[in-house]
């Protein structure tokens, strides 16, 4: 070790903090100049932590299920009555759906309709919240030899969850539809009007840019639009809900605050995601 005089050592010790504060601004500029660097560092960190999270996810999930079960015991009678009623309704809908499906098959057969190609999918476990105070995303454990790619679409059993934005060797990050950076072309199902669904970091994304003369109806279903070639058409997203001040929002069908397992679909669409070498230019706007 180099021997320094006491004065020099004290002066150096006093300088460290200001120098590091200046360096923190340097880090900000670096993160701004090279967005890919931060992304790589993050996904490398997530890759190394994901096995640990995956191990603890199961016991933790069991604990939270047990807690939810214990809480559910309170309202079990009312819940049962509600479910029986709902079951009756669903049975009616099932018969309608079966009849419509049969009719649809007949019509397609007589029209020589070209069916949409079936999309391949993989199922992955959500191992951690990959968001922050100002971001909404989840981290998936996808296994070491996965074929998940950027831009693929994540759904849970009820509806659209988000898109894969970063892929590591054994993890993938899915940006949720509620994230501030999320913009999704949608169709209002009743009026077939197009709109954009904009994430706000809140629980319900906002609807914007619907055509003049159309008013999003309360409870109207919202599905994806194939415009911009980023999504296939007609994936369920949620229903329209007006806030107290009359702003139309979308109540997501997917259970975004307790995702456990999602399916990642490869529709072979590359509308938004640029090919890898051009990433630098567009990494900032997903």
């Amino acid at each position: 070790m180099i021997r320094l005089s006491i004065q020099a050592r004290q002066a150096l010790a006093k300088l460290t903090l200001p120098v590091l504060i200046v360096a923190s601004f340097g880090v900000m500029l670096l993160g701004k100049a090279d967005a890919l660097l931060a992304e790589r560092a993050r996904i490398a960190l997530a890759d190394s932590l994901a096995p640990i999270y995956a191990v603890v996810a199961e016991p933790l999930g069991r604990i939270s299920t047990a807690v939810a079960d214990a809480a559910g015991l309170w309202g079990i009678r009312e819940e049962n009555a509600r479910l029986m009623e709902e079951n009756e309704q669903l049975r009616r809908w099932q018969s309608i759906a079966l009849a419509l499906d049969a009719e649809n098959q007949r019509l397609r057969a007589s029209l020589h309709w070209i069916p949409d190609p079936a999309a391949s999918f993989v199922t992955a476990r959500v191992v951690a919240d990959a968001g922050g105070v100002y971001a909404k995303a989840v981290l998936l454990a996808v296994g070491p030899n996965h074929r998940v790619r950027k831009g693929e679409i994540a759904l849970d059993e009820r509806g659209l969850v988000g898109r894969v934005t970063e892929v590591g060797s054994r993890t993938a990050r899915v940006l949720l539809i509620t994230d501030l950076n999320s913009r999704i072309p949608v169709i209002l199902e009743n009026s077939r009007a197009r709109a954009i669904m904009v994430g706000t970091n809140g629980p319900r994304p906002r609807l914007m840019f619907w055509p003049e003369g159309v008013v999003p109806q309360e409870g109207e279903r919202v599905v994806t639009s194939a415009e911009a070639n980023a999504f296939p058409a007609n994936l369920p997203i949620g229903t329209v809900h007006h806030t107290a001040s009359g702003v139309p929002e979308v109540q997501p069908a997917a259970m975004l605050n307790r995702l456990e397992i999602v399916r990642i679909f490869d529709y072979g669409l590359a509308g938004i995601t640029p090919p890898e070498p051009e990433q630098r230019l567009t990494a900032a706007h997903h």
Partner: protein, 184 residues
């Protein structure tokens, strides 16, 4: 150890076990901070879990900066801030900056604060957490160049201030026992 040639007196022989003991006591603040940060990222499914990470990180850094700044030195704070940015998906550098600011404030008033009891320390920490939450918001807005609703600032500041006793009481115990290098 630097301390050895500065203070005269009789002390135990520096065996490997004893050296490891001293080193682990010196490393205790930084390593527990990192461990607690990783624990907050566990998939527990609690609502608002994302806010836990900056809250506990600030509490740990503040505590050790007040009571043991030799073990929570500026370079250590810098690295913890970098980890905070990476784990918390903030723009890089934001966590580094706010933690260094909190560290600087703690260094400034530690001699004045430490003997005045827990309540005052907590009150000053609450003020620091408000400033830090506001700075995080401001820097995030500037760096992403998009106006974000400022509601999370209030939640983050309140959670950070409210969690402080839960972090500080076990840390204070550890500070006097297992993390004390004098007891090695």
């Amino acid at each position: 150890m630097a301390r050895t040639d500065q203070t005269p007196g009789i002390r135990p022989r520096p065996t490997i076990g004893r050296r490891l003991d001293v080193i682990s006591r010196h490393a205790f603040p930084a390593s527990t901070t990192v461990l607690v940060m990783l624990l907050t990222e566990m998939p527990t499914g609690i609502r608002g879990q994302a806010t836990l990470l900056p809250a506990v990180t600030l509490a740990c850094v503040w505590f050790w900066s007040v009571f043991r700044p030799t073990a929570m030195s500026p370079p250590v704070v810098f690295l913890i801030g970098l980890l905070l940015d990476l784990l918390g998906y903030q723009p890089l550098g934001v966590g580094v900056f706010i933690l260094l600011v909190a560290h600087a404030v703690a260094l400034r008033c530690r001699y004045w604060l430490a003997p005045r009891g827990f309540a005052l320390l907590w009150a000053v920490f609450a003020a620091v957490s408000v400033v830090d939450a506001a700075l995080t918001w401001l820097l995030t807005v500037l760096l992403t160049w998009r106006l974000i609703a400022p509601a999370p600032v209030v939640f983050q500041a309140a959670l950070t201030a409210a969690l402080y006793p839960a972090i500080a009481i076990p840390l204070a115990r550890a500070h006097r026992s297992i993390a004390d290098p004098e007891r090695a």
